[in-house]
């Protein structure tokens, strides 16, 4: 029944359970959820990536999440444990794959992790934990919020997993140089920003926009079904703030509007762990979440030029900048 050489993980049961109230239904649902998550995550690494397969797995994931939300009782842990390291996160993700029944408890009890570990931080206050208590604040979305949070977290965890797992198609990552060492016309800087933002953009968005209360389906859908183009990325950035500063420094006037990446970075507002009240209006859309995305099946418009941030040598140096470390980026932002 099993393919040769594959380790068999016993499914919760063999019989298809369509009766939701059956106790087996929940365990089967969790099993399907964890398997689907695993599959989607590894789908890009297949020798023959198939869009049909990815779409079907994504739809199954979505359906399973929806059904969990609609289930009468959802057994989930309420209180978050204290901050744990990213290694624990990885462990939890790994164990989730092996112990499907514990997947949700592992995910909902979202540990807070530091950015230094390439993970993302969810302050405890942002996590609506109790199904009962938060009714006034969240209204009928309480169950949504609770489960959507876990769903969001799980999706982001897989994103992190994917960034850490070096997939065969990922460009080799080179360490991020510090800002001072950048040469003046840093053509790859644009990509630098892009990569850095991509890395934790998802998490940032979670915090600042309070999207935890969004429906889980939307999160699921938007976190990994994206077609990121560089143009899209920068269309979202409101550079009005930056342009003002740039003008002050005379950069735009003299340089003819050629904004270099390191300059852009310099003027990004400093990142802090608490959600900024009004960050620079970088309304990162969901496209920036660096989950394995269906965009890999689509056209890559890396050669497209950006409106005011264009650089003639963008694409050539792109891949050099691509593998920049978030840690270093953090340091630079804090410094500036």
């Amino acid at each position: 029944m099993i393919m040769k050489g594959q380790k068999r993980k016993p499914p919760p049961e063999e019989v298809e359970v369509s009766d939701r109230s059956s106790p087996m239904w929940e365990s089967q649902r969790q099993f399907v959820f964890s398997v689907s998550l695993n599959k989607y995550h590894h789908g890009q690494e297949l020798p023959e990536p198939s869009l049909r397969r990815s779409v079907l797995i994504a739809n199954t994931l979505r359906q399973v999440s929806l059904e969990a939300f609609a289930a009468p009782s959802v057994d989930m842990e309420m209180s978050p444990p204290p901050c744990s390291s990213s290694s624990a996160l990885h462990e939890s993700v790994v164990t989730a794959k092996q112990h499907p029944a514990e997947t949700f408890s592992a995910l909902v009890s979202c540990p807070t992790v530091t950015l230094n570990d390439l993970s993302y931080c969810v302050p405890a206050s942002n996590a609506p934990l109790s199904l009962k208590d938060e009714d006034e604040d969240w209204g009928s979305m309480s169950m949504d919020s609770d489960f959507s949070l876990s769903a969001a977290i799980s999706s982001i965890l897989t994103a992190l997993d994917s960034t850490i797992d070096s997939s065969s198609q990922a460009a080799p990552r080179t360490p991020l140089r510090s800002l001072e060492n950048l040469s003046a016309p840093s053509d790859g800087g644009v990509a630098w920003v892009k990569q850095g933002l991509r890395g934790y953009g998802g998490g940032w968005e979670q915090q600042e926009e309070g999207r935890a209360w969004e429906s889980s389906t939307e999160l699921m859908r938007c976190s990994y079904l994206s077609e990121l183009t560089v143009e899209d990325l920068f269309q979202d950035i409101d550079t009005s703030l930056l342009e003002r500063d740039m003008e002050v420094l005379g950069l735009i006037g003299s340089g003819g509007g050629c904004l270099t990446g390191d300059d852009l970075l310099r003027y990004l507002p400093p990142f802090s762990s608490s959600p900024p009240s009004h960050p620079f209006s970088l309304s990162l859309n969901q496209n920036l979440k660096c989950l394995p995305s269906l965009s890999s099946f689509g056209p890559l418009s890396s050669s497209s030029s950006l409106p005011s941030l264009s650089s003639p040598h963008f694409s050539s140096q792109n891949h050099v900048r691509e593998g920049l470390d978030l840690e270093h980026l953090m340091e630079i932002l804090v410094e500036s």
Binding site: P12, F31, L56, T60, Q63, R221, L225, P299
Partner: protein
């Protein structure tokens, strides 16, 4: 005239073409498509290594009545090579996804073969004569010394050993962002369409530098993508009609006269979901893996993971007939999802008179259903049971816990690595071609052959 009952009740004679026993095969040898031409004289197979092998049926010989109808290798050529997309850092597989023959219009044969990205038109022609007696060249082709030429002769065509020449006549490239899953030649014999996961393009056979996009289901935001195109085919007689199937189990019949872009369907064939049979895998198993018009053009045959369905073009609400291919797998969907078997795409085929349908399954089994008598049979394509001239024995799979007879196979002992995804039926006779991994089996109706 075909008699459908004979196919099922009578014995099946095997004329199998296999490589030598115990030969190990490479992955490049896995057959990925099988297709008869319009007369059935030629059978083309494509494999994962980008090669096409064409078999030709031997003409019937009076002196050897039993050797008539055998298929022998006619030509082999490399159709597609592996490519590398530098922009996306992706390798483009050379695997032949589909082969479609063009109707024969002169002495040469033409076929279309496609991999994930590029479609090619190949000309297959024979050369059995060559000119001899040149004036300026001798028999070996060396230039003759002019002083030795004393008279003029007219070169004469002399018979030679048959040589089959294959040459690429057209290359239709750079029109598909996603993986091409289907090609279909139009009944006007001038155009054809190619379908990938999200788009369908219409080509003219003589024009390679552009194609028309006639279906585009790509959403503006890829985040909203929930459905892909799985197969497409032109109507056999109406050059304006075509059908395409989706991963959600729907079929859309489109009329090219209605609009340039056929995003809006003329008819939508969808069976409402049975709420009692709903499971987590309902959508995946409803994904249509193949769609075929009947020869008459009146019906559609579709294959999803567990069933084969016949639809009447005049009835969109539900299929006319539903045939359970391997319902015993319904309770195993969890495991099949885990090992990815649930994503296998099985093809299906009509017989010449549209009375019998055929499709593949696991364990090298394939199934045939007679639409009139409602009888069905399960047969196995394997080396052990397919000695030449042997008669195929019907097989049976017993569900877990069911009453088990001798020679029955239990569900748990099915080999899921041996899957018959590609099958083809001769356009007029009861001859079927079955691709089992790297082996090609050709079976013929014994009763039918005895009548000749």
């Amino acid at each position: 005239m075909l008699s459908p009952i004979q196919v099922l009740c009578s014995d099946i004679t095997t004329l199998s073409l296999e490589p030598e026993p115990f030969a190990s095969y490479t992955e490049a040898d896995i057959i990925s498509t099988v297709e008869f031409n319009h007369t059935g004289e030629l059978l083309a197979t494509g494999d994962k290594g980008g090669r096409v092998v064409i078999f030709q049926r031997e003409p019937e010989s009076k002196c050897e009545p039993f050797s008539q109808g055998e298929y022998n290798v006619y030509s082999t050529f490399q159709s597609h090579e592996p490519e590398f997309d530098y922009l996306k850092s992706l390798e483009i597989e050379e695997k032949i996804n589909k082969i479609r023959w063009l109707p024969q219009q002169n002495a040469a044969h033409f076929l279309l073969s496609t991999n994930d990205k590029t479609i090619k038109l190949w000309k297959v022609s024979e050369r059995d004569k060559r000119p001899e007696g040149y004036n300026l060249k001798d028999e070996e082709g060396r230039i003759k010394d002019l002083s030795t030429i004393t008279s003029l002769q007219v070169p004469v065509l002399m018979p030679m050993d048959l040589m089959v020449e294959v040459s690429p006549r057209r290359v239709f490239a750079n029109a598909h962002t996603y993986h091409v899953n289907s090609i279909s030649v139009n009944s006007d014999y001038q155009t054809y369409m190619s379908a990938d996961d999200l788009r369908i393009n219409l080509w003219h056979l003589d024009i390679t530098d552009r194609s028309f996009n006639i279906v585009d289901i790509k959403p503006a935001n890829m985040e909203d993508l929930t459905e892909v195109i799985t197969a497409a085919e032109f109507h056999p007689h109406h050059c304006n009609l075509f059908v395409y199937s989706s991963s959600k189990g729907t079929l859309r019949l489109c009329d090219m006269r209605e609009a340039a872009l056929c995003d809006k369907h003329s008819k939508l064939f969808e069976e409402p979901e049975d709420p009692s049979a709903r499971s987590f895998f309902s959508e995946i198993i409803s994904s249509v893996s193949d769609v075929k018009f009947s020869h008459s053009g009146r019906y559609l045959l579709t294959r999803d993971y567990l069933t084969a369905k016949v639809w009447d073009l005049n009835m969109e609400s539900k299929p006319l007939e539903t045939y359970q291919v391997h319902d015993y797998l319904r309770s195993k969907l969890c495991s099949l999802y885990e090992n990815d078997c649930i994503f296998d795409k099985f093809e299906c085929a009509w017989n010449g008179s549209d009375s019998v349908i055929m499709t593949g399954a696991y364990n090298n089994f394939f199934r045939m259903f007679d639409r009139n008598t409602k009888r069905d049979v399960t047969l196995e394509a394997s080396r052990e049971s397919s000695k030449p001239r042997a008669v195929l024995k019907p097989r049976r799979v017993c569900a877990a816990g069911g009453k088990r007879r001798k020679d029955d196979i239990s569900v748990d002992s099915l080999d899921f690595t041996k899957k018959i995804l590609h099958t083809a039926w001769h356009p007029t006779e009861n001859i079927i071609a079955i691709a089992a991994t790297n082996n090609l089996y050709i079976f013929q109706d014994k009763l039918n052959s005895e009548l000749h």
